[in-house]
C-alpha cells in the first residue's frame, strides 16, 4: 500500500494536535500550549461552564512511569490543600480516557521572577516580592509541605503585583518517606543535601537554602552588607547554620527593611552608626536643617 504524503501544513497541524489531551470537551476548550516541562504540558483553556480562562496541566503522553503519574496527582492534592494567595488554586482534577492525569488551575498572567527581575525594579520592590514568596513557602511548611524546587522560574509575578509560587511537582509532605538517592530539583538552587540524595537530612531547610539562592539572584551587584549576609546565611551549606525556618529568614529581612540590626550580620560601631543614622534620617535631617537655619539667622543678626 502506498504511503500517505504529509504536507508541511499537515505536519505542523499534526504536531500541534497529536498530543492534545482528551480532557472533557463539554467542559473545557483547549486553546494553546503555554508551558512545557519535563513532566507535562500546560495548556491555556476556556472553562465553558463558567466562561473563564484557566490553565490545565496534563502529563505528557510519552511519560509512562507510575512515579510520574503519582507525582502529578500528588501535586494536585498538595495544591488543593494549600489555600493561600501566594499559591495557585486548583479547580478540578481528572484523568483522560487514555489514562493521562490532569488538573485545572487558575490562569496566572504575568512573568516569572527571572523575567521580572530584569524590569529594573527598586531593591525595596524586589524585597517585597521576596517576602511574599517567603509567606507562601512558610504557609506550605506550616501544612507539612516542602516545595523542593524553588527557583526564579517557578515564581510568577502578576500584572497587579501578585506573587504566586508555582510548580509543586516535586513537593512532598514532610513526613513522606522516600528512597535514598532520590534527586529532584534544579542545580544552582538545590540544597547540597538534596543534591546528594541525602533523603534523611533533607527537610524544610532545603527550601530555606533555595530562598537564599533566590535572594542572592535578586540582589544588585553591590548590595548592602547586611542584606548579603542574610542571603548567605539562608544559603549556608550546613543546614544547621541556615535560618531554621522560613519565618526566621523573613523576620530578619523585615528587620533589615526597618533598618534594625539583623541576626545574620554582626555589625561594628561604624555600621551601627550608619544604620541608626539611616533609620532616623528624616528627623535627623529636620534637626540639622533647624540648626543650620538658626545659625544662619544668628550670623545675619550679628
Amino acid at each position: 500500500m502506498t504511503n500517505l504524503p504529509v504536507s508541511d501544513a499537515a505536519l505542523r497541524h499534526l504536531q500541534a494536535v497529536v498530543d492534545l489531551p482528551a480532557v472533557p470537551s463539554d467542559k473545557y476548550e483547549l486553546q494553546e500550549i503555554i508551558g512545557r516541562g519535563g513532566m507535562g504540558t500546560v495548556y491555556l483553556a476556556r472553562d465553558k461552564e463558567l466562561d473563564r480562562l484557566v490553565a490545565i496541566k496534563v502529563l505528557g503522553s510519552h511519560i509512562t512511569s507510575p512515579g510520574s503519574v503519582e507525582r502529578l496527582v500528588r501535586e494536585a492534592k498538595i495544591l488543593a490543600r494549600l489555600e493561600h494567595p501566594g499559591i495557585v488554586p486548583v479547580h478540578d482534577v481528572g484523568v483522560t480516557p487514555d489514562g493521562r492525569p490532569y488538573y485545572v488551575m487558575k490562569l496566572v498572567k504575568g512573568n516569572d521572577l527571572s523575567a521580572h527581575a530584569g524590569d529594573d525594579l527598586s531593591l525595596g520592590a524586589m524585597l517585597r516580592v521576596f517576602e511574599r514568596i517567603c509567606d507562601a513557602v512558610a504557609f506550605a511548611h506550616a501544612h507539612g509541605v516542602i516545595h523542593r524546587d524553588l527557583k526564579p522560574g517557578n515564581v510568577m509575578v502578576g500584572a497587579f503585583g501578585e506573587v504566586l509560587v508555582m510548580d509543586w511537582g516535586v513537593a512532598k509532605f514532610a513526613a513522606a518517606v522516600e528512597s535514598p538517592g532520590t534527586v529532584l530539583g534544579t542545580p544552582g538552587y538545590m540544597a547540597p543535601e538534596q543534591a546528594m540524595g541525602d533523603v534523611e537530612n533533607t527537610d524544610h531547610r532545603a527550601d530555606v537554602f533555595s530562598l537564599g539562592a533566590i535572594l542572592g539572584f535578586l540582589l544588585p551587584e553591590a548590595p548592602p552588607p547586611a542584606l548579603r549576609a542574610i542571603a548567605r546565611k539562608a544559603a549556608a551549606v550546613d543546614p544547621g547554620e541556615r535560618y531554621q525556618t522560613v519565618t526566621a529568614l523573613a523576620d530578619d529581612l523585615s528587620r533589615f527593611r526597618a533598618a534594625e540590626a539583623v541576626i545574620a550580620y554582626p555589625e561594628n560601631l561604624l555600621d551601627r552608626v550608619r544604620r541608626v543614622a539611616w533609620k532616623y534620617r528624616v528627623p535627623l535631617a529636620l534637626v540639622l536643617a533647624y540648626v543650620f537655619m538658626r545659625m544662619l539667622l544668628m550670623l545675619i543678626r550679628a
Partner: protein
C-alpha cells in the same frame, strides 16, 4: 497509567549490529523504511545532487551501512541516532564526491521499495520556509514527516482491521489533508459528509488522534537507541507548540 502507550520499546538501533543475520536484516528494513526519503531529499537539496545521483547515493548509503557496519559505531552518549545517521550520510556523500565517479548501487541489496519519482515530486515542492534552516533542522523535519507517514500507514491498517474506517477517513480529511491557506473543514461539514452526528465527529477524531499518537510513539521507540533519547525525541515531536 496511560493505556495507549507502547510500554515495551522494540528498538532496532541495537539490532543493527546483531550477530543474527535475520535480526540485522529486519532492523535495516525498518531503518530504510523510515529514513530513505529524508536521506534522498537531504542529498538532493543540501548536497545539490541530481536526481539520479541522489537515488544512487541513497541506495548505496543503506547498502554500504549494512555491508560494512558503519552504523555499529553509534554511541548513544554522544548524539541522537538521527543526527549520527545524518553525519554518516554527509561522510558518504563527501567521499563519493571526492571519488568523483558515479556510484554503483550497493551490491544489489535492496531493503524496501523506494518510490523515487514520488520522493522527487515532494522534493521539488520544498521551497521557502521548508528549505531554510540548518542541515540538522531540515533533516529533522523530513525525518518527522517520514515518521508520521509510517505511523499513518499503521493507523490506516489498524482501522481497516478493526472496522474503524470512518474514524480514519475523518482523521485523514480533517487532520492530514491540510494545505496552507485553505480553511479546514468544519465539524458540522464533516458530520454531514460522513453522515454521522457532530458529537460523533469529536469522538472519532479523538480516537484516531489517540491511536495515531500511539503509532508515532511506537515507530519512535523502534528508531531510538535509549529511553532518554526516546523521551527527548517524543517531547520534541509531540510537545511542539501549535
Amino acid at each position: 497509567m496511560p493505556g495507549e502507550f507502547p510500554t515495551t520499546r522494540h528498538s532496532i538501533v541495537q539490532a543493527l549490529s546483531s550477530p543474527e543475520p535475520e535480526v540485522r536484516r529486519r532492523a535495516f528494513d525498518t531503518l530504510a523504511r523510515c529514513y530513505w526519503k529524508p536521506v534522498y531529499k537531504y542529498v538532493r537539496l543540501r548536497w545539490h545532487a541530481d536526481p539520479q545521483d541522489a537515488e544512487d547515493l541513497t541506495q548505496d548509503f543503506f547498502a554500504q551501512a549494512f555491508e560494512k557496519g558503519h552504523l555499529d559505531r553509534y554511541d548513544p552518549a554522544k548524539a541522537r541516532f538521527r543526527t549520527y545517521l545524518r553525519v554518516c550520510v554527509d561522510g558518504a556523500v563527501a567521499n563519493a564526491k571526492k571519488a568523483g565517479a558515479r556510484l554503483k548501487r550497493g551490491g544489489g541489496i535492496v531493503f524496501v521499495p523506494m518510490d523515487f519519482p514520488a520522493a522527487e515530486h515532494e522534493t521539488l515542492a520544498v521551497t521557502g520556509d521548508t528549505a531554510d534552516g540548518t542541515e540538522e533542522e531540515f533533516f529533522r523535519r523530513e525525518w518527522i514527516r517520514s515518521l508520521f507517514e509510517l505511523a499513518l500507514g499503521r493507523l490506516r491498517d489498524e482501522c481497516q482491521t478493526e472496522g474503524k474506517e470512518t474514524a480514519f477517513r475523518l482523521f485523514q480529511k480533517y487532520d492530514v489533508e491540510r494545505e496552507a491557506e485553505i480553511p479546514a473543514p468544519t465539524y458540522a461539514g464533516l458530520a454531514q459528509a460522513f453522515n454521522v452526528p457532530e458529537t460523533q465527529v469529536t469522538n472519532l477524531l479523538a480516537y484516531a488522534r489517540r491511536r495515531f499518537r500511539h503509532h508515532v510513539l511506537e515507530v519512535l521507540g523502534e528508531l531510538t537507541a535509549s529511553d532518554e533519547e526516546f523521551a527527548a525525541e517524543a517531547r520534541d515531536i509531540l510537545g511542539a507548540s501549535p
